[in-house]
Symmetry: C2
Subunit: 313 residues, 2 copies
Amino acid sequence: MRHLLHALAVAAFALTLPAHADPAKATPTPKELLAKSKSAEWRTPDPQNLLYMQLPQGRVLIELAPDFAPLHAANIRLLAHEHYYDGLAIVRVQDNFVTQWDDPAGDEEHVDTSKLRPLGSAATTLAPEYTRAWDPKLPWTALPDGDVYAPQVGFSEGFPAARNPADGQAWLAHCYGMVGVGRDIDPRSGNGSALYAVIGQAPRALDRNIALVGRVLQGMQYLSGIPRGTGPLGFYEKPEQRIVIQSVRLGSDLPTAQRAKIEVLRTDSATFAALVEAKRQRRDDFYTVPAGRLDLCGISAPVREVAAAEPAH
Amino acid sequence: MRHLLHALAVAAFALTLPAHADPAKATPTPKELLAKSKSAEWRTPDPQNLLYMQLPQGRVLIELAPDFAPLHAANIRLLAHEHYYDGLAIVRVQDNFVTQWDDPAGDEEHVDTSKLRPLGSAATTLAPEYTRAWDPKLPWTALPDGDVYAPQVGFSEGFPAARNPADGQAWLAHCYGMVGVGRDIDPRSGNGSALYAVIGQAPRALDRNIALVGRVLQGMQYLSGIPRGTGPLGFYEKPEQRIVIQSVRLGSDLPTAQRAKIEVLRTDSATFAALVEAKRQRRDDFYTVPAGRLDLCGISAPVREVAAAEPAH
Protein backbone atom coordinates (compact mmCIF):
# COMPACT_ATOMS: atom_id res chain seq x y z
CA MET A 1 0.00 0.00 0.00
CA ARG A 2 1.17 3.52 -0.71
CA HIS A 3 0.33 5.14 2.52
CA LEU A 4 1.76 8.63 2.70
CA LEU A 5 1.79 7.68 6.37
CA HIS A 6 3.91 5.48 8.57
CA ALA A 7 6.66 5.62 6.03
CA LEU A 8 10.07 7.15 6.00
CA ALA A 9 10.83 10.66 4.91
CA VAL A 10 14.16 12.25 4.30
CA ALA A 11 13.78 15.94 3.71
CA ALA A 12 15.35 17.02 0.46
CA PHE A 13 18.38 19.17 1.06
CA ALA A 14 18.62 17.76 4.56
CA LEU A 15 20.37 14.57 3.65
CA THR A 16 22.54 14.65 6.71
CA LEU A 17 19.56 13.26 8.55
CA PRO A 18 19.70 9.52 9.16
CA ALA A 19 18.20 7.56 6.31
CA HIS A 20 16.14 5.58 8.77
CA ALA A 21 14.81 6.84 12.05
CA ASP A 22 16.24 5.02 15.01
CA PRO A 23 13.36 2.87 16.29
CA ALA A 24 14.62 3.50 19.79
CA LYS A 25 14.00 7.18 19.23
CA ALA A 26 10.64 6.82 17.48
CA THR A 27 7.84 8.64 19.28
CA PRO A 28 5.13 6.37 20.68
CA THR A 29 2.02 6.03 18.54
CA PRO A 30 -1.39 7.19 19.80
CA LYS A 31 -2.43 3.54 19.90
CA GLU A 32 0.49 2.68 22.17
CA LEU A 33 -0.18 5.63 24.46
CA LEU A 34 -3.88 4.90 24.73
CA ALA A 35 -3.22 1.24 25.45
CA LYS A 36 -1.17 2.30 28.49
CA SER A 37 -3.73 4.82 29.76
CA LYS A 38 -5.42 4.35 33.11
CA SER A 39 -9.16 3.98 33.58
CA ALA A 40 -9.29 7.11 35.72
CA GLU A 41 -8.00 9.13 32.77
CA TRP A 42 -11.23 8.51 30.91
CA ARG A 43 -14.60 10.05 31.67
CA THR A 44 -18.09 8.93 30.78
CA PRO A 45 -19.96 11.92 29.31
CA ASP A 46 -23.02 12.94 31.29
CA PRO A 47 -26.05 11.48 29.46
CA GLN A 48 -27.67 14.90 29.87
CA ASN A 49 -24.96 16.32 27.63
CA LEU A 50 -25.19 13.73 24.86
CA LEU A 51 -27.27 14.22 21.74
CA TYR A 52 -27.98 11.16 19.61
CA MET A 53 -28.79 12.31 16.10
CA GLN A 54 -29.96 9.50 13.85
CA LEU A 55 -29.42 10.03 10.12
CA PRO A 56 -30.18 7.50 7.38
CA GLN A 57 -26.42 6.85 7.08
CA GLY A 58 -25.76 6.38 10.78
CA ARG A 59 -25.69 7.94 14.22
CA VAL A 60 -24.00 11.22 15.14
CA LEU A 61 -23.13 11.64 18.81
CA ILE A 62 -22.65 15.20 20.08
CA GLU A 63 -21.44 16.25 23.51
CA LEU A 64 -22.83 19.54 24.76
CA ALA A 65 -20.65 22.06 26.58
CA PRO A 66 -22.94 23.60 29.21
CA ASP A 67 -20.06 25.30 31.00
CA PHE A 68 -19.51 27.45 27.93
CA ALA A 69 -23.07 27.86 26.65
CA PRO A 70 -25.46 26.99 29.50
CA LEU A 71 -28.56 28.67 28.08
CA HIS A 72 -28.08 27.15 24.64
CA ALA A 73 -27.34 23.69 26.04
CA ALA A 74 -30.47 23.82 28.18
CA ASN A 75 -32.61 24.93 25.25
CA ILE A 76 -31.23 22.20 23.00
CA ARG A 77 -31.97 19.64 25.71
CA LEU A 78 -35.58 20.85 25.80
CA LEU A 79 -35.86 20.70 22.01
CA ALA A 80 -34.50 17.16 21.95
CA HIS A 81 -36.66 16.07 24.89
CA GLU A 82 -39.76 17.23 23.03
CA HIS A 83 -38.60 15.61 19.75
CA TYR A 84 -38.41 18.97 18.00
CA TYR A 85 -35.64 17.86 15.65
CA ASP A 86 -37.28 14.67 14.40
CA GLY A 87 -37.96 15.08 10.70
CA LEU A 88 -35.87 18.21 10.24
CA ALA A 89 -32.97 17.98 7.80
CA ILE A 90 -29.45 18.80 6.83
CA VAL A 91 -30.14 21.77 4.59
CA ARG A 92 -26.69 23.16 3.96
CA VAL A 93 -23.22 21.74 3.30
CA GLN A 94 -20.67 24.40 2.37
CA ASP A 95 -17.33 22.93 1.36
CA ASN A 96 -14.44 23.65 3.71
CA PHE A 97 -16.83 25.35 6.13
CA VAL A 98 -19.97 23.90 7.76
CA THR A 99 -22.78 21.37 7.59
CA GLN A 100 -26.00 22.83 8.99
CA TRP A 101 -29.28 21.22 10.04
CA ASP A 102 -32.45 23.12 10.50
CA ASP A 103 -36.18 23.36 9.90
CA PRO A 104 -36.33 23.22 6.08
CA ALA A 105 -39.35 25.53 6.14
CA GLY A 106 -37.01 28.23 7.44
CA ASP A 107 -34.77 27.95 4.42
CA GLU A 108 -37.21 28.73 1.69
CA GLU A 109 -36.63 32.02 -0.04
CA HIS A 110 -39.78 33.50 1.45
CA VAL A 111 -40.30 31.96 4.84
CA ASP A 112 -43.91 31.22 5.69
CA THR A 113 -43.60 31.43 9.46
CA SER A 114 -46.86 29.53 9.87
CA LYS A 115 -45.07 26.51 8.43
CA LEU A 116 -42.18 26.65 10.87
CA ARG A 117 -42.25 23.95 13.47
CA PRO A 118 -43.07 25.47 16.87
CA LEU A 119 -40.31 25.30 19.46
CA GLY A 120 -42.59 23.92 22.17
CA SER A 121 -41.32 24.68 25.66
CA ALA A 122 -38.00 25.98 24.35
CA ALA A 123 -37.12 29.66 24.22
CA THR A 124 -37.14 31.36 20.82
CA THR A 125 -34.48 33.90 21.76
CA LEU A 126 -31.47 33.55 24.03
CA ALA A 127 -28.77 35.85 25.26
CA PRO A 128 -25.66 35.32 23.16
CA GLU A 129 -23.06 33.07 24.75
CA TYR A 130 -20.01 33.73 22.60
CA THR A 131 -17.51 34.11 25.40
CA ARG A 132 -17.62 33.62 29.15
CA ALA A 133 -15.70 34.98 32.10
CA TRP A 134 -12.94 32.56 32.96
CA ASP A 135 -13.54 30.60 36.15
CA PRO A 136 -10.42 29.13 37.78
CA LYS A 137 -12.54 26.11 38.73
CA LEU A 138 -12.72 25.10 35.08
CA PRO A 139 -10.03 22.64 34.03
CA TRP A 140 -7.48 24.08 31.64
CA THR A 141 -4.76 22.29 29.69
CA ALA A 142 -2.64 24.79 27.82
CA LEU A 143 -1.00 23.98 24.51
CA PRO A 144 2.57 25.25 24.33
CA ASP A 145 2.97 26.49 20.75
CA GLY A 146 0.82 29.57 20.57
CA ASP A 147 -1.98 30.40 18.21
CA VAL A 148 -2.56 32.82 15.36
CA TYR A 149 -5.90 34.01 16.77
CA ALA A 150 -5.86 34.02 20.56
CA PRO A 151 -3.41 34.84 23.36
CA GLN A 152 -3.82 31.39 24.95
CA VAL A 153 -5.25 28.13 23.65
CA GLY A 154 -5.82 24.72 25.12
CA PHE A 155 -8.52 22.36 26.26
CA SER A 156 -11.23 22.58 28.88
CA GLU A 157 -13.36 19.52 29.61
CA GLY A 158 -12.41 18.02 26.26
CA PHE A 159 -13.25 21.08 24.18
CA PRO A 160 -10.74 23.22 22.26
CA ALA A 161 -10.82 26.66 23.78
CA ALA A 162 -9.08 30.03 23.93
CA ARG A 163 -8.50 32.57 26.66
CA ASN A 164 -7.56 36.22 26.81
CA PRO A 165 -5.90 37.06 30.13
CA ALA A 166 -6.23 40.77 29.34
CA ASP A 167 -10.01 40.73 29.71
CA GLY A 168 -10.52 37.47 31.59
CA GLN A 169 -12.68 35.99 28.84
CA ALA A 170 -12.66 32.44 27.49
CA TRP A 171 -14.40 30.87 24.53
CA LEU A 172 -14.69 27.65 22.59
CA ALA A 173 -12.79 27.50 19.30
CA HIS A 174 -14.14 26.62 15.86
CA CYS A 175 -12.13 23.45 15.28
CA TYR A 176 -13.16 20.58 13.00
CA GLY A 177 -16.16 18.78 14.50
CA MET A 178 -17.24 21.59 16.80
CA VAL A 179 -20.99 22.30 16.85
CA GLY A 180 -22.47 25.78 16.92
CA VAL A 181 -25.82 27.52 16.94
CA GLY A 182 -27.03 29.03 13.69
CA ARG A 183 -28.62 32.43 13.99
CA ASP A 184 -29.87 35.42 12.02
CA ILE A 185 -28.45 38.93 12.15
CA ASP A 186 -29.92 39.50 15.59
CA PRO A 187 -27.46 38.04 18.10
CA ARG A 188 -30.39 36.90 20.22
CA SER A 189 -31.91 34.91 17.34
CA GLY A 190 -29.96 31.73 18.01
CA ASN A 191 -31.94 29.20 20.01
CA GLY A 192 -30.55 25.80 19.02
CA SER A 193 -33.20 24.94 16.45
CA ALA A 194 -30.52 25.37 13.76
CA LEU A 195 -27.12 23.82 14.43
CA TYR A 196 -23.94 23.46 12.40
CA ALA A 197 -20.73 21.45 12.55
CA VAL A 198 -17.35 22.58 11.24
CA ILE A 199 -16.24 20.37 8.30
CA GLY A 200 -13.10 22.12 7.06
CA GLN A 201 -10.17 24.27 8.02
CA ALA A 202 -11.01 25.84 11.39
CA PRO A 203 -12.98 29.05 10.63
CA ARG A 204 -11.56 30.78 13.67
CA ALA A 205 -12.89 34.21 12.67
CA LEU A 206 -16.29 32.90 13.83
CA ASP A 207 -14.92 32.61 17.36
CA ARG A 208 -16.58 35.20 19.62
CA ASN A 209 -19.14 35.98 16.93
CA ILE A 210 -21.46 33.02 17.41
CA ALA A 211 -22.21 30.44 20.10
CA LEU A 212 -20.42 27.11 20.05
CA VAL A 213 -22.27 24.54 22.08
CA GLY A 214 -20.52 21.19 21.74
CA ARG A 215 -18.48 18.71 19.77
CA VAL A 216 -19.16 15.68 17.59
CA LEU A 217 -17.79 12.61 19.39
CA GLN A 218 -18.80 10.00 16.85
CA GLY A 219 -20.31 9.92 13.36
CA MET A 220 -18.55 13.02 12.06
CA GLN A 221 -18.18 11.26 8.71
CA TYR A 222 -21.96 11.42 8.24
CA LEU A 223 -21.79 15.21 8.38
CA SER A 224 -18.60 15.68 6.36
CA GLY A 225 -18.73 12.92 3.73
CA ILE A 226 -21.89 14.09 1.97
CA PRO A 227 -22.52 16.12 -1.17
CA ARG A 228 -21.98 19.87 -0.95
CA GLY A 229 -24.96 22.12 -1.63
CA THR A 230 -24.78 24.06 -4.88
CA GLY A 231 -26.85 27.06 -3.79
CA PRO A 232 -25.47 30.22 -2.16
CA LEU A 233 -23.65 29.44 1.10
CA GLY A 234 -23.87 25.73 0.29
CA PHE A 235 -27.62 25.37 0.76
CA TYR A 236 -29.15 22.46 -1.10
CA GLU A 237 -31.15 23.81 -4.00
CA LYS A 238 -33.68 20.99 -4.18
CA PRO A 239 -35.68 19.72 -1.22
CA GLU A 240 -34.93 16.10 -2.17
CA GLN A 241 -31.20 16.73 -1.69
CA ARG A 242 -31.72 17.39 2.01
CA ILE A 243 -30.81 14.61 4.42
CA VAL A 244 -33.67 13.96 6.79
CA ILE A 245 -32.97 13.70 10.50
CA GLN A 246 -34.81 10.64 11.74
CA SER A 247 -34.54 11.59 15.40
CA VAL A 248 -32.48 13.48 17.96
CA ARG A 249 -32.59 12.15 21.51
CA LEU A 250 -30.96 13.26 24.71
CA GLY A 251 -28.94 10.46 26.33
CA SER A 252 -30.77 10.89 29.62
CA ASP A 253 -34.07 10.29 27.82
CA LEU A 254 -32.88 6.92 26.50
CA PRO A 255 -33.17 3.63 28.35
CA THR A 256 -29.79 2.69 29.79
CA ALA A 257 -29.48 -0.23 27.39
CA GLN A 258 -29.71 2.10 24.40
CA ARG A 259 -27.07 4.53 25.58
CA ALA A 260 -23.70 4.61 23.88
CA LYS A 261 -20.95 2.88 25.83
CA ILE A 262 -18.30 5.46 25.26
CA GLU A 263 -15.61 7.30 27.15
CA VAL A 264 -13.64 10.44 26.35
CA LEU A 265 -10.02 10.85 27.34
CA ARG A 266 -9.67 13.62 29.93
CA THR A 267 -7.77 16.49 28.37
CA ASP A 268 -6.16 17.20 31.74
CA SER A 269 -4.75 13.66 31.94
CA ALA A 270 -1.13 12.56 31.67
CA THR A 271 -1.99 10.46 28.64
CA PHE A 272 -3.44 13.43 26.77
CA ALA A 273 -0.28 15.38 27.58
CA ALA A 274 1.75 12.49 26.19
CA LEU A 275 -0.37 12.47 23.03
CA VAL A 276 0.30 16.18 22.57
CA GLU A 277 4.03 15.64 22.96
CA ALA A 278 4.09 12.62 20.63
CA LYS A 279 2.28 14.66 18.02
CA ARG A 280 4.56 17.69 18.43
CA GLN A 281 7.72 15.58 18.21
CA ARG A 282 6.45 12.88 15.92
CA ARG A 283 9.36 10.90 14.55
CA ASP A 284 9.07 7.44 13.05
CA ASP A 285 9.83 5.65 9.81
CA PHE A 286 7.73 8.19 7.93
CA TYR A 287 8.08 11.44 9.85
CA THR A 288 11.76 12.27 10.08
CA VAL A 289 11.34 16.03 10.36
CA PRO A 290 9.18 16.55 13.46
CA ALA A 291 7.05 19.67 13.32
CA GLY A 292 8.05 20.42 16.90
CA ARG A 293 4.77 22.30 17.14
CA LEU A 294 1.06 21.59 17.39
CA ASP A 295 -1.88 23.89 16.68
CA LEU A 296 -5.08 23.86 18.70
CA CYS A 297 -7.19 22.22 16.01
CA GLY A 298 -4.48 19.69 15.20
CA ILE A 299 -5.50 17.39 18.04
CA SER A 300 -8.76 16.40 19.71
CA ALA A 301 -9.75 14.36 22.73
CA PRO A 302 -9.89 10.65 21.83
CA VAL A 303 -13.17 8.78 22.21
CA ARG A 304 -13.40 5.03 22.81
CA GLU A 305 -16.10 2.43 22.94
CA VAL A 306 -16.16 0.46 26.16
CA ALA A 307 -17.47 -3.04 26.59
CA ALA A 308 -20.69 -3.27 28.55
CA ALA A 309 -20.10 -4.38 32.12
CA GLU A 310 -20.72 -8.07 32.65
CA PRO A 311 -23.81 -8.61 34.78
CA ALA A 312 -22.95 -10.14 38.16
CA HIS A 313 -23.98 -13.76 38.40
CA MET B 1 -32.87 31.74 6.29
CA ARG B 2 -30.82 31.14 9.36
CA HIS B 3 -27.41 31.82 8.02
CA LEU B 4 -24.83 31.88 10.77
CA LEU B 5 -23.27 34.25 8.26
CA HIS B 6 -23.85 37.81 7.19
CA ALA B 7 -25.69 38.46 10.40
CA LEU B 8 -24.97 40.60 13.42
CA ALA B 9 -23.01 39.43 16.40
CA VAL B 10 -22.64 41.12 19.74
CA ALA B 11 -20.13 39.31 21.87
CA ALA B 12 -21.60 38.32 25.20
CA PHE B 13 -19.97 40.20 28.05
CA ALA B 14 -18.79 42.80 25.57
CA LEU B 15 -21.99 44.75 25.40
CA THR B 16 -20.20 48.04 25.21
CA LEU B 17 -19.74 47.25 21.52
CA PRO B 18 -22.27 48.94 19.25
CA ALA B 19 -25.40 46.87 18.83
CA HIS B 20 -25.16 47.27 15.08
CA ALA B 21 -22.03 47.65 13.05
CA ASP B 22 -21.79 50.96 11.30
CA PRO B 23 -22.32 50.14 7.61
CA ALA B 24 -19.84 52.91 6.78
CA LYS B 25 -17.24 50.92 8.68
CA ALA B 26 -18.17 47.51 7.30
CA THR B 27 -15.27 45.80 5.57
CA PRO B 28 -15.73 45.22 1.83
CA THR B 29 -16.89 41.75 0.86
CA PRO B 30 -14.75 39.48 -1.32
CA LYS B 31 -17.34 39.88 -4.06
CA GLU B 32 -16.98 43.67 -3.94
CA LEU B 33 -13.19 43.50 -3.96
CA LEU B 34 -13.07 41.04 -6.84
CA ALA B 35 -15.52 43.12 -8.84
CA LYS B 36 -13.08 46.05 -8.62
CA SER B 37 -10.01 44.00 -9.50
CA LYS B 38 -8.03 44.73 -12.64
CA SER B 39 -7.48 42.25 -15.47
CA ALA B 40 -3.72 42.36 -14.94
CA GLU B 41 -4.20 41.05 -11.41
CA TRP B 42 -5.40 37.72 -12.78
CA ARG B 43 -3.28 35.11 -14.44
CA THR B 44 -4.19 32.27 -16.77
CA PRO B 45 -2.57 29.08 -15.48
CA ASP B 46 -0.12 27.52 -17.89
CA PRO B 47 -1.95 24.63 -19.63
CA GLN B 48 1.16 22.54 -18.96
CA ASN B 49 0.44 22.91 -15.25
CA LEU B 50 -3.23 22.01 -15.33
CA LEU B 51 -4.53 18.52 -14.67
CA TYR B 52 -8.11 17.75 -15.67
CA MET B 53 -9.33 14.79 -13.62
CA GLN B 54 -12.74 13.54 -14.70
CA LEU B 55 -14.74 11.71 -12.05
CA PRO B 56 -18.29 10.41 -12.46
CA GLN B 57 -19.49 13.33 -10.30
CA GLY B 58 -17.62 16.03 -12.15
CA ARG B 59 -14.29 17.53 -13.09
CA VAL B 60 -11.44 18.28 -10.72
CA LEU B 61 -8.93 20.87 -11.93
CA ILE B 62 -5.48 20.82 -10.33
CA GLU B 63 -2.68 23.34 -10.84
CA LEU B 64 0.81 21.91 -10.56
CA ALA B 65 3.58 23.80 -8.77
CA PRO B 66 6.73 23.01 -10.78
CA ASP B 67 8.76 25.69 -9.00
CA PHE B 68 8.41 23.70 -5.78
CA ALA B 69 8.42 20.14 -7.09
CA PRO B 70 9.85 20.18 -10.62
CA LEU B 71 10.69 16.47 -10.85
CA HIS B 72 7.31 15.41 -9.53
CA ALA B 73 5.43 17.86 -11.74
CA ALA B 74 7.30 16.60 -14.81
CA ASN B 75 6.61 12.97 -13.93
CA ILE B 76 2.92 13.65 -13.38
CA ARG B 77 2.77 15.41 -16.75
CA LEU B 78 4.25 12.32 -18.37
CA LEU B 79 1.81 10.03 -16.57
CA ALA B 80 -1.13 12.16 -17.68
CA HIS B 81 0.17 12.49 -21.21
CA GLU B 82 0.33 8.70 -21.51
CA HIS B 83 -3.12 8.28 -19.93
CA TYR B 84 -1.70 6.38 -16.97
CA TYR B 85 -4.41 7.56 -14.58
CA ASP B 86 -7.41 6.60 -16.73
CA GLY B 87 -9.32 3.88 -14.91
CA LEU B 88 -7.50 4.26 -11.60
CA ALA B 89 -9.62 5.15 -8.59
CA ILE B 90 -10.09 7.05 -5.38
CA VAL B 91 -9.13 4.33 -2.94
CA ARG B 92 -8.93 6.18 0.35
CA VAL B 93 -10.93 8.93 2.07
CA GLN B 94 -9.82 9.50 5.66
CA ASP B 95 -12.04 11.96 7.49
CA ASN B 96 -10.42 15.27 8.41
CA PHE B 97 -7.28 14.25 6.55
CA VAL B 98 -6.92 13.22 2.90
CA THR B 99 -8.57 11.77 -0.18
CA GLN B 100 -6.13 9.62 -2.15
CA TRP B 101 -6.23 8.22 -5.68
CA ASP B 102 -4.05 5.43 -6.85
CA ASP B 103 -3.73 2.16 -8.72
CA PRO B 104 -6.22 -0.04 -6.83
CA ALA B 105 -3.99 -3.06 -7.46
CA GLY B 106 -1.44 -1.40 -5.18
CA ASP B 107 -3.85 -1.29 -2.28
CA GLU B 108 -4.64 -4.93 -1.91
CA GLU B 109 -3.28 -6.54 1.21
CA HIS B 110 -0.79 -8.59 -0.74
CA VAL B 111 0.25 -6.59 -3.75
CA ASP B 112 0.69 -8.63 -6.90
CA THR B 113 3.20 -6.37 -8.63
CA SER B 114 2.46 -8.03 -11.95
CA LYS B 115 -1.02 -6.48 -11.73
CA LEU B 116 0.23 -2.96 -11.17
CA ARG B 117 -0.19 -0.70 -14.13
CA PRO B 118 3.21 0.10 -15.65
CA LEU B 119 4.33 3.71 -15.41
CA GLY B 120 5.28 3.93 -19.06
CA SER B 121 7.89 6.60 -19.74
CA ALA B 122 7.61 8.00 -16.25
CA ALA B 123 10.21 7.44 -13.55
CA THR B 124 9.38 4.99 -10.79
CA THR B 125 11.53 6.75 -8.21
CA LEU B 126 12.28 10.42 -7.74
CA ALA B 127 14.44 12.44 -5.44
CA PRO B 128 12.28 13.82 -2.66
CA GLU B 129 11.20 17.44 -3.14
CA TYR B 130 9.92 18.35 0.29
CA THR B 131 11.64 21.71 0.57
CA ARG B 132 13.65 23.86 -1.80
CA ALA B 133 16.26 26.56 -1.45
CA TRP B 134 14.56 29.92 -1.53
CA ASP B 135 15.15 31.88 -4.74
CA PRO B 136 14.61 35.63 -4.51
CA LYS B 137 13.19 35.49 -8.02
CA LEU B 138 10.14 33.64 -6.71
CA PRO B 139 7.25 35.91 -5.83
CA TRP B 140 6.47 36.07 -2.13
CA THR B 141 3.50 37.63 -0.38
CA ALA B 142 3.94 37.42 3.36
CA LEU B 143 1.02 37.08 5.74
CA PRO B 144 1.39 39.31 8.78
CA ASP B 145 0.04 37.24 11.68
CA GLY B 146 2.57 34.51 12.15
CA ASP B 147 2.11 30.77 12.11
CA VAL B 148 2.27 27.97 14.65
CA TYR B 149 4.52 25.81 12.47
CA ALA B 150 6.91 27.97 10.46
CA PRO B 151 8.96 31.14 10.92
CA GLN B 152 7.35 32.82 7.90
CA VAL B 153 4.24 32.02 5.88
CA GLY B 154 2.64 33.49 2.82
CA PHE B 155 1.92 32.82 -0.83
CA SER B 156 4.09 32.14 -3.81
CA GLU B 157 2.51 31.89 -7.26
CA GLY B 158 -0.87 31.22 -5.68
CA PHE B 159 0.29 28.43 -3.38
CA PRO B 160 0.38 28.61 0.43
CA ALA B 161 3.98 28.30 1.49
CA ALA B 162 6.41 28.65 4.37
CA ARG B 163 9.99 29.81 4.68
CA ASN B 164 12.76 29.45 7.20
CA PRO B 165 15.26 32.32 6.95
CA ALA B 166 17.63 30.41 9.22
CA ASP B 167 18.36 27.74 6.63
CA GLY B 168 17.11 29.43 3.47
CA GLN B 169 14.56 26.72 2.78
CA ALA B 170 11.00 27.11 1.55
CA TRP B 171 8.18 24.63 1.18
CA LEU B 172 4.53 24.36 0.24
CA ALA B 173 2.08 24.03 3.14
CA HIS B 174 -0.56 21.34 3.68
CA CYS B 175 -3.64 23.56 3.49
CA TYR B 176 -7.11 22.43 2.47
CA GLY B 177 -7.14 21.52 -1.22
CA MET B 178 -3.39 21.09 -1.57
CA VAL B 179 -2.30 18.03 -3.57
CA GLY B 180 0.61 15.81 -2.57
CA VAL B 181 2.43 12.72 -3.74
CA GLY B 182 1.70 9.49 -1.89
CA ARG B 183 4.71 7.36 -1.14
CA ASP B 184 5.92 4.37 0.83
CA ILE B 185 8.49 4.39 3.61
CA ASP B 186 11.29 5.01 1.16
CA PRO B 187 11.40 8.76 0.49
CA ARG B 188 12.29 8.03 -3.13
CA SER B 189 9.17 5.91 -3.63
CA GLY B 190 6.88 8.79 -4.55
CA ASN B 191 6.50 9.20 -8.29
CA GLY B 192 3.09 10.80 -8.78
CA SER B 193 1.18 7.60 -9.53
CA ALA B 194 -0.57 8.01 -6.15
CA LEU B 195 -1.80 11.49 -5.25
CA TYR B 196 -3.79 12.91 -2.36
CA ALA B 197 -5.69 16.09 -1.54
CA VAL B 198 -6.11 17.59 1.92
CA ILE B 199 -9.81 17.51 2.97
CA GLY B 200 -9.68 18.66 6.59
CA GLN B 201 -7.83 20.76 9.11
CA ALA B 202 -4.41 21.49 7.64
CA PRO B 203 -2.13 18.54 8.59
CA ARG B 204 0.90 20.77 8.81
CA ALA B 205 3.07 18.12 10.42
CA LEU B 206 3.26 16.56 6.94
CA ASP B 207 5.07 19.68 5.72
CA ARG B 208 8.72 18.86 4.90
CA ASN B 209 7.97 15.12 5.18
CA ILE B 210 6.32 14.57 1.84
CA ALA B 211 6.15 16.32 -1.54
CA LEU B 212 3.32 18.72 -2.26
CA VAL B 213 2.88 19.26 -5.96
CA GLY B 214 -0.15 21.47 -6.53
CA ARG B 215 -3.58 22.74 -5.57
CA VAL B 216 -7.15 21.94 -6.51
CA LEU B 217 -8.55 24.97 -8.35
CA GLN B 218 -12.02 23.61 -9.07
CA GLY B 219 -14.06 20.55 -8.15
CA MET B 220 -12.74 20.17 -4.61
CA GLN B 221 -16.24 19.14 -3.56
CA TYR B 222 -15.90 15.93 -5.58
CA LEU B 223 -12.92 14.93 -3.44
CA SER B 224 -14.29 16.09 -0.08
CA GLY B 225 -18.02 15.40 -0.25
CA ILE B 226 -17.79 11.63 -0.64
CA PRO B 227 -18.11 8.75 1.82
CA ARG B 228 -15.18 8.09 4.11
CA GLY B 229 -13.48 4.72 3.89
CA THR B 230 -14.05 2.43 6.83
CA GLY B 231 -10.79 0.49 6.64
CA PRO B 232 -7.54 1.44 8.36
CA LEU B 233 -6.34 4.92 7.30
CA GLY B 234 -9.65 5.47 5.54
CA PHE B 235 -9.11 2.97 2.74
CA TYR B 236 -12.30 1.69 1.15
CA GLU B 237 -12.82 -1.89 2.22
CA LYS B 238 -14.73 -3.03 -0.84
CA PRO B 239 -13.57 -2.50 -4.44
CA GLU B 240 -17.05 -1.31 -5.44
CA GLN B 241 -16.76 1.62 -3.03
CA ARG B 242 -13.88 3.07 -4.99
CA ILE B 243 -14.62 6.00 -7.27
CA VAL B 244 -13.23 5.34 -10.72
CA ILE B 245 -11.20 8.04 -12.44
CA GLN B 246 -12.50 8.29 -15.98
CA SER B 247 -9.53 10.24 -17.25
CA VAL B 248 -6.76 12.64 -16.31
CA ARG B 249 -5.53 14.97 -19.03
CA LEU B 250 -2.90 17.65 -19.11
CA GLY B 251 -4.30 20.99 -20.30
CA SER B 252 -1.66 21.30 -22.99
CA ASP B 253 -2.79 17.94 -24.43
CA LEU B 254 -6.35 19.18 -24.83
CA PRO B 255 -7.70 21.03 -27.87
CA THR B 256 -7.99 24.72 -27.03
CA ALA B 257 -11.77 24.55 -27.17
CA GLN B 258 -11.81 21.96 -24.39
CA ARG B 259 -9.57 23.89 -22.03
CA ALA B 260 -11.06 25.48 -18.95
CA LYS B 261 -11.54 29.23 -19.25
CA ILE B 262 -10.28 30.13 -15.84
CA GLU B 263 -8.07 32.66 -14.15
CA VAL B 264 -6.44 32.72 -10.74
CA LEU B 265 -6.00 35.93 -8.77
CA ARG B 266 -2.30 36.76 -8.41
CA THR B 267 -1.35 36.44 -4.78
CA ASP B 268 1.08 39.32 -5.20
CA SER B 269 -1.70 41.65 -6.41
CA ALA B 270 -3.22 44.62 -4.59
CA THR B 271 -6.62 42.92 -4.66
CA PHE B 272 -5.30 39.83 -2.90
CA ALA B 273 -3.75 42.09 -0.28
CA ALA B 274 -7.12 43.79 0.14
CA LEU B 275 -8.83 40.39 0.52
CA VAL B 276 -6.35 39.47 3.25
CA GLU B 277 -7.04 42.73 5.08
CA ALA B 278 -10.82 42.43 4.71
CA LYS B 279 -10.65 38.93 6.14
CA ARG B 280 -8.41 39.96 9.01
CA GLN B 281 -10.58 42.91 9.95
CA ARG B 282 -13.93 41.53 8.90
CA ARG B 283 -16.70 43.63 10.35
CA ASP B 284 -20.24 43.66 9.06
CA ASP B 285 -23.76 43.01 10.31
CA PHE B 286 -22.72 39.53 11.43
CA TYR B 287 -19.06 39.85 12.42
CA THR B 288 -18.77 42.55 15.06
CA VAL B 289 -15.65 41.16 16.72
CA PRO B 290 -13.02 41.07 13.98
CA ALA B 291 -10.43 38.37 14.47
CA GLY B 292 -7.76 40.90 13.57
CA ARG B 293 -5.71 37.92 12.43
CA LEU B 294 -5.57 35.43 9.57
CA ASP B 295 -3.85 32.07 9.38
CA LEU B 296 -2.15 30.76 6.27
CA CYS B 297 -4.81 28.15 5.49
CA GLY B 298 -7.64 30.58 6.22
CA ILE B 299 -7.47 32.12 2.76
CA SER B 300 -6.72 30.87 -0.75
CA ALA B 301 -6.25 32.43 -4.15
CA PRO B 302 -9.63 33.02 -5.83
CA VAL B 303 -10.37 31.31 -9.12
CA ARG B 304 -12.83 32.65 -11.68
CA GLU B 305 -14.37 31.49 -14.92
CA VAL B 306 -13.86 33.83 -17.81
CA ALA B 307 -16.06 34.16 -20.83
CA ALA B 308 -14.58 32.86 -24.05
CA ALA B 309 -13.33 35.60 -26.34
CA GLU B 310 -15.73 36.48 -29.12
CA PRO B 311 -14.37 35.38 -32.48
CA ALA B 312 -13.53 38.35 -34.69
CA HIS B 313 -15.91 38.66 -37.59
